[in-house]
Structures are given as structure tokens and as C-alpha cells.
Symmetry: C2
Subunit: 457 residues, 2 copies
């Protein structure tokens, strides 16, 4: 009997296709075009790719995996995509809250940045943020900051995927003193990270009101020459719009369009004050947008017309923004929940932005906003293996009547148990696997004292 | 040497006052009148009371504790107070989301309640909710549901403090068929839980539009006769206000006042559509209010004028409401964050409802809303020992520049590590100590299938 059984296993192993991993869960949320949700589902992974997705029975019959993770009490979903952040600012978490924008910027953020931000600050801050993101299920994030090649190094160290924008701004910055130096540095950055499996290098002109027109144009040309994205803040505040209208007679979007800045791969953050004509331009240019509900609420910027934007077919993802006052964490589970609730209460329509749409914004729609939807954003054969396991083992996670509703309105960042990016397990059982968090936490404490002292001066 | 040292310890033990517990932390947030925050602070507890609060050095010099808990990486704060919930509805978590209120009520909630709610449902649902609340730092909650004596039993089992309102409603309910039966039952409930150390029994006429006027008056008389509170929904929706104005020519608040229903200890939930005259009445009557931002946003009820209400000196706490669609969790850390952000974005003022005010709503102001502020809501000598430890050991929790900001905008329910209610440790190291959660989770799964089937009929 035992010999026959061994022979049977041998035949099965011959017949089965090899896979590096099989991950199975109570529910697999694919976010494919048909929005398949597979009960008792599984996914097979080989190298950096998803080989197949199906029921656990189907996947187990077809594949023989080197490693497996079976979580009958979890949801397996595409990794979350944060479309707008300033990661390194994590070291300024909550440095100044509940202030008017000008006071916040001028009395706290600008002095704090001028006195503290250097390459090492950016390295440790990005590590801290990237660990926070990984632990809360974010697998791809979009950044705008300084020393962006160092951001890229820290991002790869933690194992996240990043669309990383080197900031270009019209005044001396911590890394480069002039826009032309910055552009030269950005070009080197583009070359260093060309074809990197995890990093999409980008150029990030800060905003229309902080970057001279000629520099904005140069950013676009540079991005297009290297076929990399341009990321920018757009119509975040009413003041920004009013100033643009007063100075240029055009909205920020129309002004950027007239400078030909939107002519290419672009991701624009906020879009709170977009009007119909702006949306028409953004739709025509296939510009991706990042909605940042926490930030827009906390800074009292206003409420982006998300329902309308999405109804026009413009891809709008979700972003956490920086944690130095605009938000105080990088928690995409919270942004989904906020996005849905904020649209409902401000439109007086409880059906506005339902849970499934909010979850899409955090995954496949976010991927579309970044023009990376051929690669990430859903669990489909051939896509990169960016997947997360979210457990249903806590009292707040049960019962489950609707998986999208549970994800958006009940589950928390702390329910994320396992995270894989590009076929690599970066979080296992709620522990970061790629980097020792202890020295990062210690550095955060060290910077806390240093930054406090720098502001007391 | 060793004998001298033993003698020294002996003398110290003689000199020191006895305490059951000393809990120390990096920061002790007292929420006393001066809002003292004590770095490297501690609290001594004896029986159900706080003996003293001070620096760790002071407390250690003065007291000799049987048990101690030292968390140099945590915030020690008053337990959170949830001023409005329907705990047992946890078994309906997310049963129907993103629907118009009438569809939600008539197609899902009412049928689901009619077909499923009995005493056992309430027992298991309350257990589930109470464990969720305890794990997320809630030490006191206010309930409105059916079979409230069973709610009280489950609440005591988990070890929470509760202001528990027996629902009185103008149609046959799962527990009682008529208002007069309900009132008789409520009177028995009052007698059973008179002088209970954890339970404040209350009468809960559902709302002005679901309870006949004569019954509303009887509720008030009963509450006053037993010196217990009356809890009620008030001006939650625009429809409720318009209907009241059309039928009675009075706002709901004015109508209740004219019926003398507000003449006594009252906690009213929502208050979204209160006008100036309503606020004047509520102030004069010293009515406590419960603000439920998640619920008001999700059901698109509107935005309560919280800043104005608080500026008038009316005590408004925070509430999670039920999890069957109005919210999908009992997470007070989230409600604080939402309350602050929602006021900012809707008033276009980033200074509206700062973090400290939001944290006060979740603690001492909530206690005032319940008229229990002599007993709970702050860490002060003589108050009940309702305290929580919130850890700062995760990447999202550091650095710390401002403790209130961190609590409201960055820390999560999952950071709550230890919870004490009335001098009893009910959560230790993120584990519930008072009840085995496994059968409760199993029951939730069982009810999930049962409820699904009941709605498929």
C-alpha cells in the first residue's frame, strides 16, 4: 500500500506544474474586470508573477508549491496602492496639527525641513514609512520628496514597489539648490533606476505655484524623453485656484495644459477644486489622480468631487499624503473608509461611493491612475505577485456578510497579516521580514529629540 | 549587607501605603481640569478606585503595589467612553451597506431583526461587541436595544461599564409586545441593577417619531422615579426634523421639551439638525449629547454642529452607533479622528475641533454627557479605576511630538494593550482576560449563516 501511495504522489508531482508559492484564503478578491470573488480560493505564484488564481481545489490540483500559506480565516486581495505620499516626512509625524495652512508651513514645516532634512533623514524617514506601509498592506506607493534616489534605496530595502518622484521646486531645496541642478540630478536618478523591477523613477514638480513655468515645461520634456511619469500637486486648495485665476486667468489645470505639462504620463494629487472644464482636460490627457481624504479633511482643503471624477472615467486612486500634519499615518484601510464616508455625507447620498468602488480606488483604479494596471492592481494571471492577506480573526472582523463592506468599513491596517511584493514575502504574520525595525524605531526616537530642539531655537 | 538591605526593604514596606496596582507609562494623560500630562507618570489603584496619580518616582515612593505594569513605551489614559451604541447588532455587522435609509431599514434591518433577534442573539451579540470595545480601549458604553437585562449580564461578564437603555418603541418588539409591557419590564430592570457597580440601567424611548407622546412622558416619569437616565435618538436626520415640524409645528427638541421629556437625566444621540433654539433648551436641561461621526457620514445624515454645541458648554461625547450599516465597528479611536477631521473640512477651518478637544469628547466630555463625570472620564484621585494603556511600539506610533495629536490622528484601536475597568484588568497584552473569545467568534460564524438564510427567505 505504502509503495503504491508513494508512486501516486510521484505521478502527481510529475503532473503538477511547479510554483514558488500557493496562498489560499477564505475569500480571494481578484479585482479583475468581472470583480470575481472566489470563496475558498487560492493563488499560485512563480518568480515575480501570478501563475493562476482559482478555487483552492483547482489550484492545488494543478500546482505543486515550494511554500504555501493557508489562511481559512482571511481575505486574499491585491496589495494596496497609495497614489500620493511624502514618505520621509514620517519623522515629522504630528509635528504641528490643527493649524492654519500658512502657519503650519511657515512656522513648522519649512523651518523643520530646513534644519533637519538631509540624506540620512530621508533614508531613516523612508524606512520608517515604508515599514508602516508594508505592515498595513500597501505594496506600491507614490512619493514626492528630496534625495529621491535614497528614497528608492530605502524602498527597495523594505521591498515595496514605488513610483518615486524627485521634487523640483523654485527655491533652494535640501538636496539641490536650483531647478537646473535638480533636473540634472533627476536625469541621473532616471538612469540609475531604469528598468528596476520595483522602482518607477519620476519627476515631481511641486505645484504650479511653486515652480517657474519654464521649469515645469522642462520637467515634462525630461519625463517624456525617459518615458517616466511626472507627479504634481494640483488644485489642492481654493487659494491655489484663486491665485492661478487671478495671475493667469486660468485654473491650475488649464494653465498646466497651456504649458503642455499634462501632455504625457502624469499623476496629479488632490484635485479638490477641479471644475468641469478641468476634468475634461484631465480625461483627454489620461491624467491619473490621487484623492487624499484624510489630508483634505484635516487641512480643511475641501472635498474632491470624487463621484463625478470617477463617473467620467478618470482614474482616481487614494493617497495618504505626508504625516507631518496633513495626515498622521500611512493607513490605506483608513483612507478607503474615509473616502466612502466623506462622499456620502457631503452629497447627502448614502449610495455615493460604495465599498466596492472605494476598494477599487485602493487597488485597480489606483493602478490605472499610475498607468501600472497592466502590471498591478488585481489578482490575475501574468500580473506581478503583489498580494496581501487580511485576517478575519478579531471580534471586529466578524460576521462577514459582504467582503467589500468588511474591507472598507470594518477591517483595519492591523488585520493585515502577510504581504507579498513582486513575489517576495515582505510581511509574515504581522512582522516585517526584510529589515530589522528596531534600529529604525530607535532612529525615530533620536530624530524626535533632534527635531524638537531644532524648533526650539 | 544583605541583612541591612532586607531591613531597609522592611521599613520601606511598612512606610509605603498599600495599593493593588501601580501602572506606569511614558506619558500619563489625566484629562483633569488642568489637563495635566505627566511624563514618566504612574497611577496607584486600590479596589475600584484611583488612589493617586503622579510621576512614577512619586508614586513608587509612596505606594507598595501587589501588581505592577510598567510600559515605558505607552500612553496611560482614561478609558474611552462610547456614548451611543446598539451593541447586540454586532451580529448584523455590514449586513446592508451603501443603501438609502428606508431601503436599509425596511428591506434589511427590520426583517433581519424580526427573524433573528431573541434573548440568545442579544447575549452573543453583546458579548461580541463588548469584547471588541474592550480590546479597542472602550471602558464605558451606552446602549439602546432589546432584552437589556441580558445586555447587562453580558456587559458585566466582559467587565465593561454600561449605561444600558431598554428600548421602548411604539410597535411590537422582540422582547415586549406593547409599550406598557416594556415599561413594566424596564422597571424590573431598574430594580435588578440598582446600585450595580458597573451598570447604570436606563430607559430608551427610541425617538420622537416612533414612540407615542404618552409613552414618552411615561418613560420620563419612570426614569425620574428611579433616578436613572433616559436615552433617546434626537434630530438624526433632516427628515425627522421636517416631519416633526410638519406634524407638530415644532422641532423634535422643542416637541420633547413641551412634553417635559427633557426634564431630567437625558442622553440624546446624534443632534445633527439642532438649531439655536434647540441648543438653548438642551443647555438649560443639561442634556448630554452623543456625536456619531461614522454613522452620520455613512448614512449621509449630515454633519452635527459640534463646534457650536461644545462652545455653548453642552456636553457632547462620541458614539460608534450600531454596526449593522451605520458604522461597521465599535472603534472609538476612529471616531475621535473622524470627529476632528469632519468638523475641519465642513467648516473650512483646520483649527476646528483640535485633537485635545476630540480626545476630551472621548473621555471627560463623554463622562459629562452621561453625567458620570464625578466617577469616570479622567485619571484623578478618588475616581473609578477605568484606565487604558496605548502602546507606542509600532512604526505608525513614532515619533511623538504631541500626545493628543498622536492619540487622535495616528494611534489605532490595535495599539490598545491593557484595559482596566473598575479596578479589574479586563484586557492584558491585547488579550481579553474575562471571557473566552473563541465560542463568541464561533457563535458569530453560526449567526452569519442563520441571518443570511433568514434574509434569503
Amino acid at each position: 500500500m505504502s509503495r503504491i501511495f508513494s508512486f501516486f504522489l510521484f505521478v502527481l508531482a510529475l503532473a503538477a506544474e511547479p510554483a514558488d508559492f500557493i496562498w489560499s484564503a477564505r475569500y480571494v478578491i481578484t479585482m479583475d474586470a468581472q470583480r470575481h470573488v472566489i470563496e475558498n480560493g487560492a493563488v499560485a505564484i512563480q518568480g515575480d508573477r501570478i501563475l493562476a488564481v482559482g478555487t483552492r481545489a483547482e489550484i492545488d490540483a494543478r500546482f505543486q508549491a515550494k511554500q504555501r500559506l493557508d489562511r481559512p480565516d482571511a481575505i486574499l486581495a491585491p496589495g494596496l496602492i497609495d497614489t500620493h505620499t511624502h514618505a520621509a516626512m514620517s519623522l515629522f509625524r504630528g509635528i504641528a496639527d490643527d493649524l492654519k495652512l500658512q502657519d503650519w508651513l511657515e512656522k513648522f514645516i519649512f523651518p523643520a525641513e530646513a534644519r533637519n532634512v538631509d540624506r540620512e533623514f530621508v533614508r531613516w524617514g523612508t524606512r520608517l514609512a515604508a515599514i508602516e506601509m508594508a505592515l498595513s498592506g500597501t505594496t506600491t506607493y507614490t512619493d514626492m520628496y528630496y534625495f529621491e534616489e535614497t528614497v528608492a534605496e530605502a524602498t527597495k530595502e523594505v521591498g515595496l514597489r514605488g513610483v518615486l518622484g524627485q521634487t523640483v521646486i523654485g527655491f533652494p531645496a535640501p538636496d539641490y539648490k536650483t531647478p537646473s541642478e535638480t533636473l540634472a540630478g533627476t536625469e541621473r536618478f532616471f538612469k540609475t533606476f531604469a528598468n528596476d523591477p520595483l522602482i518607477v523613477p519620476a519627476v515631481a514638480p511641486h505645484a504650479i505655484y511653486t515652480v517657474p513655468d519654464e521649469v515645469l515645461k522642462s520637467c515634462r520634456l525630461l519625463a517624456n524623453r525617459y518615458k517616466e511619469p511626472l507627479v504634481i500637486h494640483l488644485s489642492e486648495t481654493k487659494h491655489e485656484n484663486e491665485e492661478s485665476l487671478a495671475k493667469r486667468g486660468k485654473t491650475p489645470t488649464a494653465a498646466l495644459e497651456s504649458l503642455d505639462v499634462l501632455n504625457g504620463w502624469t499623476v496629479a494629487a488632490h484635485g479638490v477644486w477641479l471644475d468641469d472644464a478641468d476634468m475634461k482636460i484631465l480625461k483627454a490627457r489620461n491624467t491619473g489622480l490621487a484623492h487624499c481624504p484624510s489630508s483634505n479633511m484635516k487641512l480643511a482643503s475641501g472635498v474632491a468631487p470624487v463621484v463625478k471624477i470617477l463617473s467620467l472615467g478618470i482614474a482616481m486612486g487614494l493617497g495618504t499624503d505626508g504625516v507631518a500634519g496633513s495626515n498622521n499615518d500611512h493607513d490605506m484601510m483608513e483612507e478607503m473608509d474615509l473616502a466612502a464616508k466623506l462622499q456620502k455625507v457631503t452629497t447627502f447620498d448614502p449610495q455615493a461611493l460604495p465599498a466596492e468602488t472605494a476598494f477599487a480606488m485602493a487597488t485597480i483604479t489606483g493602478a490605472r491612475a499610475l498607468r501600472l494596471d497592466a502590471m498591478i492592481g488585481s489578482i490575475e494571471t501574468g500580473k506581478r505577485a503583489d498580494v496581501i492577506m487580511i485576517r478575519l480573526d478579531q471580534p471586529h472582523a466578524v460576521p462577514v456578510y459582504n467582503v467589500y463592506s468588511q474591507l472598507v468599513y470594518a477591517l483595519k491596517a492591523s488585520d493585515v497579516a502577510d504581504v507579498m511584493v513582486n513575489g517576495r514575502v515582505i510581511v509574515r504574520d504581522k512582522k516585517i521580514m526584510t529589515i530589522d525595525p528596531a534600529p529604525v524605531m530607535a532612529k525615530a526616537a533620536e530624530y524626535q529629540e533632534r527635531v524638537k530642539k531644532s524648533l526650539a531655537r
